[in-house]
Structures are given as C-alpha cells and as structure tokens.
Amino acid sequence: MTNKIEVSNLDFFYGKAQALFDITLEVPERQVVAFIGPSGCGKSTFLRTLNRMNDTIPIARAQGVVTIDGKNIYAPGTDVVALRRKVGMVFQKSNPFPKSIFENVAYGIRINKIHSSKADLTERVEKALHDAALWDEVKDRLNMSAFGLSGGQQQRLCIARALAVQPEVILMDEPASALDPIATQKIEELVVGLKRDYTIVIVTHNMQQASRVSDKTAFFMLGKLVEYNSTQKIFTNPEQKLTEDYVTGRFG
C-alpha cells in the first residue's frame, strides 16, 4: 500500500511555545486514520499542518517535512492554494457560507474553475451532494439559504462542498462533535463510504467513533505522538501503557 502523506520529524510552534514535538507518521492511501487524545494534545494543530491552515496564524511556524504524494508541502515556493484544493477540510463547527445551498457547493468549483460549462457545474454540485448523502434532503430547496439547514445537514453540506473540488485527501476536525447521535451516525457512515475514493484523516475525541470509522489510529498527548497503530491494536492491545490508560478511560 502506498503512503499518501508522510510526516517526518515535524515540530510546530506558536511563537515561542512548542505545540508539536518531532512527529513522524504516514497515512496510507484510501484509508481512514483517526487522531485521538485529550483536548489540547495537539491533534487539531497537527491536522492543520497537513493543509497549511496554520499559515493564517501569523506567529505559527512549522519545522520538518510533510510530503503529500512525495512532495514536501513546506518546501519554499509551494502553491498553498493548490495544496488546499488537493487536501480538503471539514471543520468542527459547520461553517456554511452566507449563500444558497447550491452556491455553497458551487463556490469551490467556481473558484478553482473545475467546471467546463454551466451544465457541468450543476452536475458536479449534484454529485457532491449525492456523495455527501444530502441530495434527497435538499434537492427541492437548492436556492434557499444554507443557514436554514439543521446542524447535521449543514455539516454534510460542508462535506459536499469539500468533495466538490475533487480533493484527494480530506481532513476532518471533530466533524461530529456538535451533532446529535443520529446526525453523528450519518456522518460516520459517510466517512466509511468515502474511503473508497479518498484518503481521510479524522480528529475525534470520541474513541468509539475512532474505532468505528478508522483503519489506523494515532494517539497524541502533550504535543507528542505516543502511539500509532492499526485501530484494532490500539483499542485491544496497545503497546504503550499511556495509550492503554487512555483508551480504557483511566484518564482523559
């Protein structure tokens, strides 16, 4: 199996404070990798280094190598915009744009000029909504504001929006943390289904969720990668004592 993402010796700083220490890990293609750990352990920060989202914070600084398809995304001259098109992201809180449902999904297509015609655009939007399992719920109100959707629908809209630009990797930052159990289940089913076409990295504080959706799991603590193994091994027979304590709920 080829590795889609390879991270080696990554350090990360907010100003003088170091948030990540010497992280090395690889993400295999078309698999789901979950990042777990107590809050503040750096899992979200690490996720955001993978599409250079941390660039928006002026004092943030990354050191080390992150390659996607063998190319170091921190090399000078890297086109961050192209990188982010290739590496989509879904956020903790759904963040639809103040536009219609259709335009929310169409935005990324338009901005990256992916479509060949208006009909093609419509088709792509429709496909993305299908892939995000949202189509049946919104097909009659595509021109209505995205803010009218429920929380779970908004989150799936954000997934559709990310899918529409045809990324190869999707980063998900606790995508179901603000949702009720039924909406959460829908998102989880979606993640498992998307694995066929996408490489997915998902941050979660919910260990059951990690065990349900992921192939591999990385456990972080205090900015360090404690253990990275197959999900089954992490949850049944971890190598590290710390991991065991965490997944069995002895702290956290």
């Binding site: 928006t56 002026p58 744009f97 990310a162 630009v165």
Partner: protein, 274 residues
Amino acid sequence: MIDQRRIVNAIMTVTTAACAFAVVALLLLILGYISYQGISSISWQFLVETPKPVGEGGGIGNAIVGSLILLGLASAVGIPVGIAVGTYLSELGSGWFGKTVRFVADTMIGVPSIVFGVFVYGLVVVRQGYFSTLAGSLALALIMIPIVSRTTEEMIRLVPDTMREGALALGAPRWRVTLDIVLPAAMAGIATGAMLAIARVLGETAPLLFTAFGSRFYNIYLDEPMASLTVQIYHYAISPFEEWHAKAWAATLVLITLILGINILVRIVTRRRY
C-alpha cells in the same frame, strides 16, 4: 444604618431614572416642536420651488436636490474608500501600519466638521477660485471615510474565522475569500454603517458654508455653488423675517424626517436580523 443605605439607594435610583427620562423628554419636546412649527408651512410649492425674496413665497426644492447631489457624490467616494479602509484594517491591519491608520481614523472622527471645510477651501476653492459642488462633496466625503471605515471594520470582525477557513480550505486565495465570503457576510452591517454615515453628513452645515457655499437656483453643475438643506435652514433661521423663520422650521422638519427616518429604518432592519 441599613435604612439609611436603603434610602440612599432609592434616591439614586430615582435620580438616575429621572435624568434618563428627562433627556428623552427633551428629545420628544424638540421633535414635537419642530413638527408643530414646521407642518403648517409645508406644501407642494415649498418642496419644489426655489428660495424667493420675503413675501413672495419660495421653497427648498433646489436645496433638497442640492443635498442629494452633494450626498450622492460624497457617498460615491466616501463609502467605497471607507469600506476598503475598514476591510484592510480588519483583514490585514494587525501590524504597526494598521494600528496607526486605525488610531488616526478613530481620531479623525472627533475632528470638527468645519475643519474639513477649511481644509477643502485651502485645497480646492482657493486654487480654483470659486465655490463648487465638487468642493462641498469632497469635504463631506472626507468626513465619511473614517466613519464608514470604523463601522466596516467592526462589522467584518463579527464574521467568524471558521467561515474564512472554510473558503481557504477549498483552495480560495485570500482576496477571493474576502470578496466572496467575508464582505457578503458582513454586508448588512456595512450597509447599516454606510446609511448612518449618510444620515450624519446629510445634517452637516459647517463644512459646506465655504465649499459648496449655497445657491438660490436649481443647479446640476459640479463647478458651481450648490444649495443644501442645512445651509438653507441656516440662512432662513438667522434672517430677521418671521416668514423665513417659518420656512426654516418647515425645512428642518423635512431634514429631520429624512435623518431620523434613516436612523429608525436602520434600527428596525438590523433588529430583525439579529
């Protein structure tokens, strides 16, 4: 002891309430008096005619048109520039340059409007040798820029960062994020700020006195003096003629209706949204 403290408490509560209601009562008295004095002189002729000598009637038609032209030109410059400055301050202005601009803009809001008139007089009127619509509009635009920029900045800051990140994560460059997502999201607030700025300069007199100057005729030329409601009110008010005083009240009623109308409208619209 306890009783004395309670009494002081009660007295202070009543006093502050009395002050608040007194101030509001003053507002209502002023507005009521304007309506009472103004309504009787308002007629169709008054609204469309130009000023005439005492005893011959006349109105404020050219002044209304003049105010609208001055305001339109001032807004055409002041609002876009103000929005651009505000956008810069909120999206890019975290460094020393942004801080300086923010502080200066903030402070310019406190500079008396008549000073802008003096400035534009020296900058434009002296050089051209005549009063003009253009000079008046420029003075008003300069007053608008800092006001619009500060409200724009505050409104843009209300747009959550997650929305910006959502667009960035799709591969949108920063400028597209600002134009496509951030500004539309803040548009209602920005429009509110712009409307309030318009209402503010609609009531300005001092910066027009020696820029647009005033005129007794309908005029559409930018290089000629231009009438305005406020300057016309001033001239009517300080005249010794009772007939003109009545016109001052009527013109004031028109002006106040426009200004308070904008203020109240803006309040209602924003109330419904939040």
